[in-house]
Symmetry: C2
């Protein structure tokens, strides 16, 4: 076991106030490690960074084509979205088309991160619905697969056919037998693997040929960065900055992945303490190191050297990539 | 320099998903270290954990008595409050009494953490004011001192008489010469010291005799736990659980202090990565270790072994104190 390495420094100038440590792996298309920081064997839960894996059975089963899902649906199936109108409108139509409604979800309600959507609910004295849950696109995918399979309503049960299909896909692309799962924020099982396993899975997505389920999902993510997260979010901003050539995805507790088709490489990283600001900084630094993100792009600088502003909008410091990543 | 020690573990059962490391010092009334974890010499910014020190000049100058401030005002001067009506109503009256208004603040506006207050603003299509800033009580104290001194309006300028008085008090109670300051979220300078210096300052507050400025401030905090933070907050909940016998105070970037009069001891702790959930867990563990917080009190368990609930209110894991603290 290798100790985690410092990945992001939080400066309140002129003092270094906080530091985040973590682990990261870059894999090539043979699944071999190209570069690593910390412990590549660390057992992790990829959380929402696994959504494109959880969407594989949706395509591989034939469900996506049977229900005529397009790239927007596939991007939403891989999304942790803000609950903005662009997300919830599409999810609502998708549910309608399946002949289902909000009560068929098993993800639970969540106050939208999108300010306009949040304020509209508050002004209408309405509670958030399950469609506002950041995972409602993934769950729409689960519901589509479930309808296609004709299986029971509790599709988040680890023994349900939908989740068994997810586990099969997960073990196949990570190349590892999963030692178990935790229950995610949206109530679906989230399968464990090593950090190397997750990077291997992402290199598999990166190298997958045109027309494969993996390619369709990564392409949908790259085509619709606004659907995968939302305005102001790192996934959306950095995918836009890379001109649709790389797919990236955050996960809770400071997980992050990247799928880089032009290099046939995958990246997986985990900040040990779960600090999202550090995961965003570290993934930006690694994408710059790999030559797929411009170091001076204004969006890059929002994460690589992110100014900290106070209540009067004064810059009081910055979150900066640690020396090991620059 | 000693490495930080693991202080809080984040479990997504059955997996250990994240870990927070930090440093802590317990001091007695002579300023000697009683117990330490990690590096007591670590240079830190105490952030809002320094508010009772920043309130010393308010009393020592005679300003608090000249303006007839009571224990509620003193508690608010030490507060990082939720911006609930119980906080903002009192701050508004205080300002009125000084003949000042919201525009005299230099803390900046902040959306209240209190849900009712936040929703009321959104429904009224109103923007948050500076009085909603969690530091508006501290700034009301600054404004009171400023009025008493007859000095200029930019009271957060590090060269202003108000801040020079804060620095003098800070160096006196920490027993150290401060190497500088960062600018805080509320735009006031936040002076640096060692973790030992901060624990020494807190033991000084703990041992201070009845009628001293230090005793008046710690007593005001212990008397009004609801004003120091607010409903649902660790400071409020844990001070209530200790029956008004201990004053505790959080600070940004995972700082926490405790003032324990019955033991004449002070505690200061810093989680290296700035994770507040870990600081709350660690201070609860240390207060239990010192015998001033019941280990089985329902409020204690909210922090020492805090259940993590998902969007459907299922318990998916817990934030638990690490072995070094139990």
């Amino acid at each position: 076991m290798t100790n985690p390495v410092a990945m992001a420094e939080v400066w309140r100038d002129p003092f270094l106030e906080s530091v985040h440590h973590g682990h990261a792996v870059v894999c090539d298309d043979t699944g071999q490690i190209v570069q690593t920081w910390g412990d590549p064997h660390k057992m992790i839960l990829p959380r929402s960074s696994a959504k494109m894996i959880q969407a594989l059975p949706l395509i591989e089963s034939g469900a996506a084509d049977a229900y005529g899902l397009g790239t927007e649906h596939l991007a939403l199936a891989c999304a942790s979205h803000n609950g903005a109108a662009i997300h919830t409108d599409r999810v609502t139509k998708w549910l309608d088309y399946l002949g289902l409604n909000d009560s068929d979800f098993r993800c639970g309600p969540q106050e939208p991160d999108d300010r306009d959507a949040r304020n509209a609910l508050i002004r209408a004295h309405e509670s958030p619905c399950q469609m506002h849950n950041n995972c409602s696109g993934k769950h729409s995918g689960f519901l589509t697969l479930n309808k296609h399979l004709g299986t029971g309503p509790d599709y988040v049960d680890p023994d349900h056919a939908v989740q068994r299909a997810c586990l099969e896909a997960f073990e196949r692309v990570t190349g590892e037998s999963s030692p178990g799962f935790g229950i995610d924020g949206c109530s679906a099982p989230n399968f464990a693997t090593s950090l190397h396993g997750m990077a291997r899975a992402m290199s598999h997505f990166a190298a997958a040929p045109t027309g494969s389920a993996e390619e369709r999902l990564r392409s949908a993510m790259m085509l619709h960065p606004d659907l995968v997260a939302g305005e102001g979010r790192a996934c959306t901003n950095l995918m836009r900055a890379m001109g649709g050539k790389v797919a990236i995805k955050t996960g809770a507790e400071a997980f992050f992945i990247a799928i880089i088709p032009e290099l046939k490489m995958g990246v997986a990283l985990k900040i040990d303490d779960g600090g999202t600001r550090a995961a965003e900084c570290a993934i930006a630094a690694i994408l710059v190191k790999l030559g797929v993100l411009e170091p001076d792009h204004p969006e890059t600088l929002k994460y690589l050297n992110a100014p900290i502003r106070n209540r009067r909008d004064l810059v009081t410091g910055a979150v900066r990539a640690a020396p090991a990543l620059v």
